[in-house]
Symmetry: C2
Subunit: 144 residues, 2 copies
DNA sequence: CGGCATCCAAAAAGATACTG
DNA sequence: CAGTATCTTTTTGGATGCCG
C-alpha cells in the first residue's frame, strides 16, 4: 500500500517547477520533470507502447498475436510493455486458467482514448513518409 | 565516421520483417519493423521529441529558453533532439551570425501538424493523472 | 502458450570540460 | 550563448533456460 505518500511529494515539487504559478498550479504539467503526467505520457509513447495501443484498437488479441502484429518486438519487451500499460489502467488482461495458457489483451475505456490519439500519430507518420524523406535529403545535401 | 561494421545481427533481424510484400508495399506500415514510418514516429514520440514539439507550439524559442521550458532535459539531449527533428523537417533552425550566438527554433508547417497531435497526447496525460493513479493503486493492491 | 529470471551486449542518457 | 567532445553511468534489449 503505497498510496498517498507520493502525492504530497509530487505536489511540493510541482510548485517549484511550474513557471506560471497562479493558473497552472492546479493542473499537472508535462513540462515539469517530476510531474506524474510525464511518466504516464512516457509509458504511452514508449517505443512499444504506441504500437501495442494501436494494435489493440483493432480488437482483443492474444499475446502471440500481438507479437506477430508488432514487427520486431521481443517477447520480453512485449510482456514488459503490456504490464506497464495494464498497471496504468490502459490494458485489460484476461487469463483463462487452462493448459496451455490462454491470455487475452484488450483496451480499457481509458486505454481506448489514449489509443485513438497514438493511432492518429502513427497514421500521420505513415502518410508523411515522403515529406520527411525529402526533408532529410535536403538536409543531408546541405551538410555532408 | 561510423560505418557499418557490426551489422551481422541487425541485418539478420531486419530480414525477417515485412510479412506481406504484395499489397502493403505501397502503403507504409508502422507495424512493420523496417518501415520508414516507424522511424519517423519514433523520432516524434521520443522522450524529448514530444516535449520539444509541444513547447515550440507556444512559439519560436531560443535554445536556452527551450532548455528551461523542458524540465530535466540535458543540454546534450536537447541539441540531439533538435537536430533529429530539424533533419526530419519538423523544426526550423535559424542562427544569427553574431557573438554571442543567437539561435532560434520554430516549427515548420509539417512539424506543426505533428506537434498538434503530440500536444493532444500530452494534454490528455495531464488530464488523466487521477484515473491512472487510481488504476495503479488498484493494481498494486491486487499484487504486492 | 504465456510468461518470468538471469545474464550479457548495446544503446541511450548524464556529467563535465571545452570552444567559437 | 549554443553548442561539441569525451567519458561514465544508466537503461534497454536480446538470448537463454525454466515453469505451470
Amino acid at each position: 500500500m503505497k498510496v498517498s505518500i507520493e502525492v504530497s511529494k509530487v505536489k511540493a515539487r510541482e510548485a517549484e517547477a511550474s513557471p506560471k504559478p497562479g493558473l497552472d498550479a492546479l493542473l499537472p504539467d508535462v513540462f515539469a520533470a517530476d510531474c506524474a503526467s510525464r511518466g504516464i505520457l512516457e509509458h504511452i509513447v514508449s517505443r512499444w507502447g504506441v504500437l501495442v495501443l494501436a494494435s489493440l484498437l483493432e480488437g482483443t488479441m492474444r499475446f502471440s498475436a500481438l507479437r506477430r502484429r508488432i514487427g520486431g518486438v521481443s517477447e520480453k519487451m512485449l510482456a514488459q510493455t503490456l504490464q506497464t500499460l495494464e498497471r496504468d489502467g490502459m490494458v485489460l488482461r484476461e487469463a483463462k486458467p487452462v493448459i496451455p495458457p490462454h491470455v487475452e489483451y484488450s483496451l480499457t475505456p481509458l486505454g481506448r482514448q489514449a489509443a485513438h490519439l497514438v493511432w492518429s500519430l502513427a497514421h500521420w507518420s505513415e502518410e508523411h513518409v515522403p515529406q520527411v524523406e525529402s526533408a532529410r535529403a535536403a538536409y543531408d545535401g546541405r551538410r555532408g
